[in-house]
Amino acid sequence: MTAIRKILEYQFPACAEQMGGVRQKLREALGQCDQPEAVVNNVVLAVGEACMNIIQHAYGQSDKGDILLEVEWRTSDKGAENGSKEPRNLIFRLTDFAKHKTCAEQMRSRPLDEIRPGGLGCHIINQVMDEVALLDRQGGHGNVLELRKHL
């Protein structure tokens, strides 16, 4: 059986000034999942990078709007029945309402042997998270990015 618990639902204006508060809310929510500090630091960083991409690229200079951040904590006893470790997942869903359509190409990491500023956000997201998916947003424009961390 899989138990799904929504541990955070928070909508905020997509701007850099909001990010300190968003990280604080996220840390508080993740406190319910009893994870090591290094794991919490990494997922907070990756979600922050995803928000930054939305602010800079989805909304950009010419558009304004909100980001909806939803976090689910899923635990399943299926693995435990087989004698293996109980599978647990943190799922982060980021919805924006921007006119710009984000494509999968924009979520790719750049080669790290190019030492230059910028373009590291997607690499961080892909390194920290186990699954990264752009989903269709039903009804109206915008994008949905789903990040999964297996624990």
Binding site: E17, M19, L45, M52, I115, P117, L120, H123, I124
Partner: protein
């Protein structure tokens, strides 16, 4: 974010602290580039950095490149655990010159 530049003997020391994110990284970039414009080597103390994201890292990389072009010594000092996690994730821990004491950096200047 706290970001103060102090002139030491023969180099500048930038003391960086708090959360370095998209809101503050332009200020960090400006401080780094302004310091390097004086022609002094630059050491950035990161002991009190509690959070740094890719925009903050981008400012550090731009400083690294500017220093390299200007043939100036540039290094990071006492990197906090959280900042080191980000440098490791981006494999920049192998690129930057990392120091654990100002004496070590001063030795490099001789």
């Amino acid at each position: 974010m706290e970001c103060n530049v102090k002139s030491e003997f023969g180099y500048d020391l930038l003391e960086l602290g708090g959360e370095v994110d998209l809101q503050y990284s332009p200020q960090l970039r400006e401080k780094i580039l302004n310091s390097l414009k004086t022609g002094n080597p630059l050491l950035i103390d990161m002991a009190k950095v509690s959070y740094i994201d890719s925009s903050g890292i981008a400012s550090l990389v731009e400083g690294f490149q500017t220093a390299k072009t200007s043939k100036l010594q540039y290094g990071l000092l006492n990197i906090s655990n959280t900042a080191m996690q980000v440098l490791t994730l981006t494999r920049l821990d192998k690129i930057f010159n990392l120091y654990t004491s100002t004496a070590e950096f001063r030795q490099k200047l001789q």
